[in-house]
């Protein structure tokens, strides 16, 4: 699938109808975040078909359903600051990404709740990471702070751009014996997600991955839980443990 502007209306329709395969769906959801024209096409397609849903005969809903929802609502964090730091700004603004959280694969609860809450903390870590990194002899090109879906800082990735990336875990991860943590990045939409390597025993480490394009500002990094030995498909299949967007080290 080519995401060219002339194709946006057709792609938006098929996306809204749920007809895109998983890879194309992910590509659309990623692109929506940085391409207002595509986002608008999807919004238009959605509104076009919406009457098919809103005209349905409502089901009788039991109060038990509301009670079940209410009992599971997490506390809402502090309200997003109007001058939200960069990481907050590049978090997926669903529901375009509503189906893209891999949550179903691993029973992780829904939603990358976001970063507004933790963006400040993340920025502090990022700043700390930058200071720490510039005081060393070899500097990374980019640093990404990875958050879990509750918006808590989980790890920092430093990508040196020479096929080497350092992953520093800042939280404990419970990894079942038959699973492993795998680190990914998305150098470009065309390439799709690329594995940087596995985190053995859930420890901080330096990975020597495949030759990839020079890491960019806002490039996505994430850690997923995969079967031992790594994802069998070469693409992330398991639940996302943490993810974040890179900032250029300056």
């Amino acid at each position: 699938m080519k995401l060219t502007p002339s194709e946006f209306p057709a792609i938006a329709d098929e996306y809204v109808l749920g007809l895109l395969d998983e890879a194309d769906k992910v590509a659309v959801e990623t692109e929506i975040e940085r391409n207002p024209a595509l986002a608008e096409a999807v919004a238009e397609a959605r509104e076009s078909f919406l009457p098919l849903d809103t005209s349905v005969d409502p089901a009788a809903v039991s109060p038990v359903l509301w009670e079940a929802i209410e009992s599971r609502l997490p506390e809402q964090g502090v309200s997003p600051s109007p001058t939200a730091p960069p990481i907050a700004a590049v978090q997926p603004a669903s529901p375009m990404a509503a189906g893209n959280d891999n949550a179903r694969a691993g029973g992780v609860s829904s939603g990358w709740r976001a970063a507004a809450v933790s963006a400040i903390a993340a920025s502090l870590i990022l700043a700390g990471g930058l200071v720490w990194s510039v005081t060393r002899t070899v500097d990374p090109l980019v640093v990404a702070v990875l958050l879990n879906e509750a918006g808590e800082v989980q790890a920092v990735v430093e990508d040196f751009g020479n096929d080497t990336a350092s992953i520093r875990l800042l939280a404990d991860f419970a990894v079942p014996a038959d699973k492993t943590m795998q680190v990914w990045t998305l150098p470009s939409r065309e390439m799709g997600p690329m594995s940087l390597g596995l985190l053995e025993d859930a420890h901080s480490t330096t990975l020597h991955g495949p030759a990839l394009p020079r890491p960019q500002d806002t490039q996505l990094y994430e850690i997923t839980l995969e079967q031992a030995g790594g994802s069998p498909t070469g693409r992330p299949t398991g639940p996302i443990l943490a993810k974040g967007f890179a900032k250029l080290a300056r």
């Binding site: 329709d13 749920g18 238009e44 919406l50």
Partner: protein, 209 residues
């Protein structure tokens, strides 16, 4: 529920669903309350989520059930979706379309995910008594088109498509069928089904423009 439902009824009766921009504007207007409720959710107001639930849950459960077929699964979908609406409410902005469209899209995505994870056949085999049978579901899918207000642009434009294309589009949107399932149900080769749907969608866009 009443204020918006009334506005919606009036708007379908006047038949002003005359184009995408109009539709967007109208839906946005109608959804003012939902937009405000989402903003209140983002600020931690649980009663705002309750208002959304009271207003929309009946239709959302019915919509999800058309896709996942079982009532219990539809309720599970809506439950998950409402948690997500709550945790993501701060991400909604009017540039992303109407608040109602945003809310329905979350539920649709959850329902589709549930369906695509397991196989539809498994869901059907799970409990025959509680499961909508195929023919019954196809009937419901076509009914979604018949139920549209007769003055609505979408109804008219779907009506202009030849029947196979219309069915394919409705099976995808209303029933959550994949290309493969649509091809199977319509006894078409997969490639043919795909290109018919693509061309049907193109005609639909041209008609709605």
């Amino acid at each position: 529920m009443s204020a918006v439902a009334t506005a919606e009824t009036e708007y379908s009766q006047t038949g002003k669903y005359s184009g995408r921009e109009d539709a967007l504007a109208l839906v946005t207007d109608q959804s003012t309350d939902l937009g405000a409720a989402l903003a209140a959710c983002a600020a931690g107001d649980r009663s705002a989520l309750r208002r959304i639930f009271d207003e929309e849950a009946g239709r959302l459960v019915a919509m999800a059930q058309r896709i996942v077929r079982r009532r219990d699964l539809a309720e599970e979908v809506v439950q998950e979706a409402f948690i997500r609406i709550w945790t993501h409410a701060h991400q909604y902005s009017p540039e992303r379309g109407s608040a109602r469209g945003w809310i329905y899209a979350i539920v649709r995505n959850r329902a589709l995910n549930l369906l695509r994870d397991g196989s539809r056949e498994d869901l059907v085999a799970d409990d025959r008594l509680e499961t909508l049978q195929d023919s019954e579901q196809l009937e419901q899918i076509m009914a979604a088109w018949h139920r549209l207000d007769r003055n609505s642009r979408l109804k008219e434009c779907l009506g202009r498509l030849d029947e196979t294309r219309r069915r394919g589009i409705l099976m995808a949107y209303v029933g959550g069928y994949t290309h493969g399932e649509i091809a199977g149900r319509l006894s078409l080769p997969l490639g043919t089904a795909k290109s018919w749907i693509r061309r049907g969608l193109l005609s639909l866009r041209e008609c709605m423009a």
